[in-house]
Amino acid sequence: MTTEVNDNDPRVSDAYREVANETTPAELDRKVLAIAAAEVRAGRGMPRTWFRPLAWAATIALSFALVLEISQVQDTAVPLRDGDLAEAVENSPPPAAAAESPADEVRIRQQANKRSSDVPATTKATLAPARPEPAAGAAVNAPAPKSDSVADDFEHADMSLLREAEEQARMQSGPDRAVAAFAEKIEQPDSCDKDARASVDTWYACVTDMRVAGRTEAAQQELEALRAEFPKFREPPGDR
């Protein structure tokens, strides 16, 4: 117990050491040690040395995960540009499925037939250069080209319908609206038109298309009308 001051006069320190020699009573020692042991047994205030760093690490990890999640959500919510919209229209499943299904194919063809009858020859000529453009992709998976020029005109009309619908959809937004506009452009006739009834083959082809499209009742009516117009007509056995 020597200090820098007491070093000057160790007699005071020695005299104090002779006087101050009391010790704690044993009863007091037992009380204090019992309190200390009880505190440990109770487990109160037990923050271990690793508890605080662990809590900080968990907080940082959760915050980082939350920020990462929010940034990913924002990335996916970025609006499409015009080019992306056209690409989405081309790749969107509904029009592709509609064009790939035979019923829609028939619908497109019939609509084209109807319009081509009203379109003048000059207009048909202006539609012709648009044909090589494969912009419509799968949505313009039109029927196989036919050898006659009328069939080509029909396909051109189909293409122009689809492009018109796409343009309208671009003016609006979203691929669903493009599909809706396309559907609005195409009406679904319940009977074969005048051109289809011009010959037996075209009329029966129209009936077959209606059957494939699922309009069996209308197809049956057209078939009866065909038989009435051409009594010698015999339906091929495989088509019945």
């Binding site: 200090t3 007491n6 020699n21 009391e22 007091l28 923050p47 040395t49």
Partner: protein, 211 residues
Amino acid sequence: MAASAEMVIAASVGLGTEPALSYAPAMVHEPDDSALMLRYQDGDVAAFDQLYRRHKDPIYRYLLRLCGHRDTAEDIFQEVWGKIVKARANYRPTAKFTTFLYRVAHNCFIDHVRRNKRHAGNTTLEPELHGDPGETLELATERSLARERLEIALQTLPDEQRDAFLLSEEGGLNMDQIASVTGCNRETAKSRVRYAINKLRSAIDEPAESS
């Protein structure tokens, strides 16, 4: 001063009086107070037991000399260790444990003084007579009187000086630590200790001067 300090250090380790091997066991490493407190923080009651036995007598004498009543000193002593026990959860070894312990004891004593203004003046401490069997009756009486005078002089010291002296003697605190515990600056602490030592020296030398 340097020579006396070297003598004290030499005496404390036995240099020049004991063979070299005799003090080798004293060099066995013992965990310091902060390590023991951290072990107790982790639930090691034996560590607290070791820590308590290391400090219990000095802190008891500090409180006993400070308040002058055994019962009061025991109450404050129990309160001090109760606070140490409760402080284990938030204990951080930022300062020396002894400084922390004596600061708690000092504050408990100050709280006791504020609660009971009548602590001073009614000392019940009686000097204990510890005489060697071989010494003569005259010498034993002289030593007993010297102890009694020192005890009386200690009790008549102002509270601040007695506190600073006891922190120095019982706690072994240096001036910076005493200043930290008592809430004063270093020079004030140093002057308090110096005044206390001068008064006690006078009390010890009183018979010689009078004779």
